[in-house]
Point group: C2
Chain length 645, copies 2
């Protein structure tokens, strides 16, 4: 490490050939990586698709079913609307994709909703977008894992009662792989992602072939169609509700824009191409499934998924190909969580770096990932899974509002950016904090595209909030502003701390001219005398203090101190109620009241250090209790002088 103008500063380089020694930690997540290794920890398009597309692609496993679930309330006749609604959703997806394509190229340094909003709209919209996205990533983990587990329990109903436990174990498994780093988790997850894509393409393809040849037929033994709560009429509200449910398919589209920095150079180009591929695969699979589900007369049910009904109808039974589809779907649903694990910690680190989340989230762990964000995500998502008992139907109304809120804000930010660009003269360039804004010839077209996207996603968000309000969307409508409030609270703390610590206007340097030392003694022995020797090395003004619970004991202490105290003052505090902390606190407070400005009070506590942990249970933890009691006192330092026995 080279430092400039370092005068007498010594720099001690670590022996980087020797990585930290092996332990259980390394066995779990791999050997530590150096900070200088960071650029090598990036990924290409093929792995990028696996990491960032699994969330979006996995929606194909449930989006059709969610639409059908809502329509089914109006009776089985309403299921005919599944395909038209799916078409509308794919149209929306196209708009959003084009819109994000523009964002990725404008922000090669990472262009999530948070950065775009911060850059073009201000702090409040940025924090709102961030809070919405963070909430949504947590829900992504909870929903996708619960959904993957539901897929498994479709095939093995006897596992249904263990679904919560299985889901939580899976969350921690994915956490572990992500702690190994983005490159390794990407490689691990690439095979199943491509397996899923293949299996689905084959299923939809075979389905179409059999439909066209007239041999498709309908579902054999479909699950029971629940007639409970049936209303029988198709209302516009119901259609909007179904549309909103289906837009779950769009969640994850934004993932690549948040994760641009994980890509190899040229980042924007790689990320942009990956986004196009992702949208193309997602759109065609989703449309295909919705179309075929109608043709085979699939029935929405909590017992058996629509994908399962489709696969066994297409393949005419529960053979090898059926199992491949079910297996692939379960795995992609679980891996959708992986996208959240890739984005949440990055976004959290951005917030933390700006002082809106605890600074600890900016810390890169031994494998160069933001390990604390990864662990936080796993813990909160597991909590949600337990709270909602891994029920997809109960979790899904909370989901997607956040994403659409961030879509809207991100595109509003982009629209504003193009508008500002139009204000510049040709060739002019303005460098603002973190971004470059320059005149763009096509600014009008680009502004219209982003603006249109904004309007569409805003409408979907409102539809979502209204139709799902009572099902649970209200939780998010309360939670996001609350989070924004907390973020600003944290920011306020860091800002005021920085002001108080600032060395501007630092005119009168602090000084400690007198150190008054109080030495606590419970008895007089070698440990006490070691502490006395240390206390006397700190200051000439040392007072030994003994709290007396038993007069006979106090007499012994006084007698011994007369022999060994070497002239140091002794004060005995009588404690008729056998209390220890209280009389001592009263004494210390008395000393603090008479403190001079440049005087510091130091409390010295002799402490045994036992060689075996359990031996500590055999001693009073006085030092610890005292430390706790004196925590908020000013002008006072406590220290323990250890005495190894």
């Amino acid at each position: 490490m080279r430092l400039e103008n370092n005068f007498g500063t010594t720099v001690i380089e670590q022996d980087i050939e020797h990585a930290p020694r092996k332990n259980w930690h390394q066995w779990l997540i791999g050997r530590p990586l150096q900070t200088a290794d960071a650029p090598h920890q990036t990924i290409g398009k093929a792995i990028g698709l696996a990491v960032f597309a699994s969330d979006a692609l996995s929606s194909t496993a449930y989006a059709t079913q969610e639409i059908m679930m809502i329509l089914a309330i109006a009776g089985s006749g309403a299921l005919g609307y599944v395909f038209p609604i799916s078409l509308a959703i794919v149209a929306l997806m196209t708009i959003v994709t084009i819109s994000y394509q523009q964002t990725i190229h404008a922000y090669p340094g990472g262009g999530g909703a948070y950065i775009v909003a911060r850059d073009n709209l201000g702090e409040l919209p940025a924090q709102t977008a961030g809070a919405a996205l963070l909430t949504d990533y947590i829900l992504t983990v909870a929903v996708s894992i619960s959904s993957g587990v539901a897929q498994i329990t479709s095939a093995f109903p006897e596992l249904h009662i263990y679904r919560v436990e299985i889901a939580v174990v899976m969350v921690f498994f994915i956490m572990l792989i992500n702690l190994r780093g983005v490159k390794e988790s990407g490689t691990t997850f690439a095979i199943p992602t491509y397996f899923f894509i293949l299996a689905m393409v084959l299923t939809v393809g075979t389905g179409f072939f059999r439909y066209l040849t007239g041999s498709l037929g309908v579902v054999v033994n479909p699950p029971a169609f629940s007639t409970e709560g049936l209303i029988g009429t198709i209302t516009p509200f119901l259609l909007l509700h179904a549309f909103a449910s289906g837009t779950a398919a769009l969640t994850g589209i934004e993932a690549i824009s948040n994760g641009i920095t994980a890509f190899k150079e040229p980042r924007s180009k790689n990320a942009g191409i990956t986004l196009l591929w992702m949208s193309a695969i997602l759109g065609s699979l989703f449309l295909g499934i919705s179309f075929l589900a109608g043709k085979i007369a699939a029935v929405p049910s909590e017992g058996e998924t629509v994908i399962s009904q489709l696969a066994r109808t297409v393949y005419g039974g529960e053979g090898f190909l059926y199992l491949a589809v079910i297996g692939g779907t379960s795995i992609i649903l679980i891996m959708a969580a992986n996208t959240a694990f890739a984005d949440f910690p990055r976004l959290g680190a951005l917030h933390a770096g700006d002082g809106f989340l605890p600074r600890q989230f900016t810390f890169r762990g031994s494998r160069l990932v933001f390990s604390r964000g990864i662990v936080a995500l796993a813990v909160i998502a597991s909590f949600l899974i337990i709270l909602f008992q891994a029920s997809v139907t109960r979790l899904i109304p909370l989901y997607a509002i956040g994403v659409f809120l961030s879509f809207t804000l991100s595109q509003a930010g982009m629209a504003r950016r193009w508008w500002k660009s139009g204000k510049l003269a040709e060739g002019e360039k303005i460098v603002e904090a973190g971004s470059v804004n320059m005149y763009d010839r096509h600014w009008k077209l680009k502004m219209v595209i982003n603006g249109f996207g904004m309007v569409c996603t805003f409408i979907v968000m409102v539809v979502f909030a209204v139709t799902k309000f009572l099902d649970g969307a209200w939780i998010i409508i309360i939670l996001v502003p609350l989070l924004v409030f907390v973020f600003f609270g944290i920011h306020h703390h860091y800002k005021s701390l920085a002001n108080k610590l600032s060395l501007e206007n630092y005119n009168t340097p602090m000084r400690v001219s007198h150190n008054r030392v109080v030495l606590l003694i419970a008895g007089v022995h070698r440990g006490t005398l070691a502490a006395l020797a240390y206390a006397r090395s700190l200051s000439a003004d040392v007072t030994a203090v003994h709290v007396s619970i038993d007069p006979a004991e106090a007499q012994k202490v006084v007698d011994k101190w007369n022999a060994y105290g070497d002239g140091t003052r002794l004060v005995v505090l009588d404690s008729p109620y056998r209390l220890f902390i209280e009389p001592l606190m009263a004494f210390i407070e008395g000393l603090l009241k008479n403190r001079q400005p440049a005087e510091v009070l130091t409390i010295v506590v002799p402490q045994f250090v036992t060689s075996r942990w359990w031996e500590n249970l055999l001693h009073n933890q006085t030092a610890l209790m005292l430390r706790f009691a004196l925590l908020f006192k000013k002008g006072l330092v406590i220290l323990e002088v250890p005495y190894n026995v």
Copy 2:
């Protein structure tokens, strides 16, 4: 407080008129008592009977039933042996009572098995007796509370599924009352004890009256007689087994001898009279119940207790008197636990005072009781109740072995004492540690009485261990030696600590001639500079150390230090793996290796003290981690300089 030869020692008296201020603690257990109040916290005979007899008396509620349970294995015909076995048990009780009467008068300062064995037999038998008794007191709480709850669920079967919860709540309720002090708990429990005695005397009396007038009859609708596992023949082993089960009636006889110090002066006389009363009531009630149970053809059952069957037969239905008996029995069973709460903490404090249990057990709480022993008893007993699901039948085989082991050791100790007394000349007196041994004219008679008691209780213990071995007695046979081993381990620790701390042969006083101070800095700000000022007041040899995770950050620290460091040395430790503790530890270890004998290393850590607790979550707890990492290092002191913001 008066201290002699105190030279310049200042004694600060506490204002004892003003007891510590009110808080939730006082609201629960009452205002604190001064140490000087101890003599007023003693009890007379009437309250003493309530405190110490409830354990023994409560056995009448189940002893008969336990005998019948065993005999029932040989078929209902074998139930005729209940009364003869009860007679044998009462004979044994008489011997033990006379034997303990002698102990109480010989040891007015508290004459439990532990003290008698320590005094006359040595350390190992004493610790064995103590371990056995402590184990048994824990079981007393578990058994008696479970049994009280079983009594309640006999009356209200719908509560059966909540028995564990009810039992645990009761344990903590009794704990709370005992934390208020022996005087208050005695008064609280006197009324129900006397109520029980009255109810039982009335029931047995009425039963005899009706038996003599020929109007007693038999149990109406007796519980089903389980024919499962029936063997049909009466074997000597079975009779011994039944006898051993019945000796549960003797548990609690020793309680008074352990608790002599709780009595008013003259202690021995008061305690002795209380013991006689207790044995008389216990023996007559137990015999009466066993006799009447046979006459009314009571059936042993987990569903309805024998007492319940007896009461409804005697009173001809489930009227007011029946409910009074059931209520009184439930309460006395629960209060038997109170005896254990009176004795366990006292015995624990004796062990702790001798250094065989953690010293904390000698500490008297705000109400002058050994509060830590009381809490420990409640926690362990609750654990047992949960483990054994509050089943009396599963708990009882563990019970009573410990008591009989302590009976045997205590009486062996007494016999040895009389034998030593016989060796002395008339009027001669030997004062040994804690006890006075003097010539006693009747030493031969007294030795025979105690010796005979020893032989009887030893035989019962062996019978108990053999017959109940497989039912659970093996747990105790393993546990008691294990506890003795742990006790000696603790004793070894205290002894070796005392040796190491001892000032004998303390020739070369320790001195600290040089204090090398290391100041950790994460950044340069007012907090750092406050810590620097403090560090420089400790020593002229101060080195600031910065662990560099980010070179840009390190450059900033160096530049600022050049401006504000006031000439203090700065060392930058490069950390390519973004570790903090490890490079620092390596640096500190290097310093420690080159340490001079009279040199101490002091690590100074600047620490923010935030005004709200949650704000601590926003900072790395470096000081805490460091303290943990450096816990076992020698010649090193860590201190935090707080900076209030």
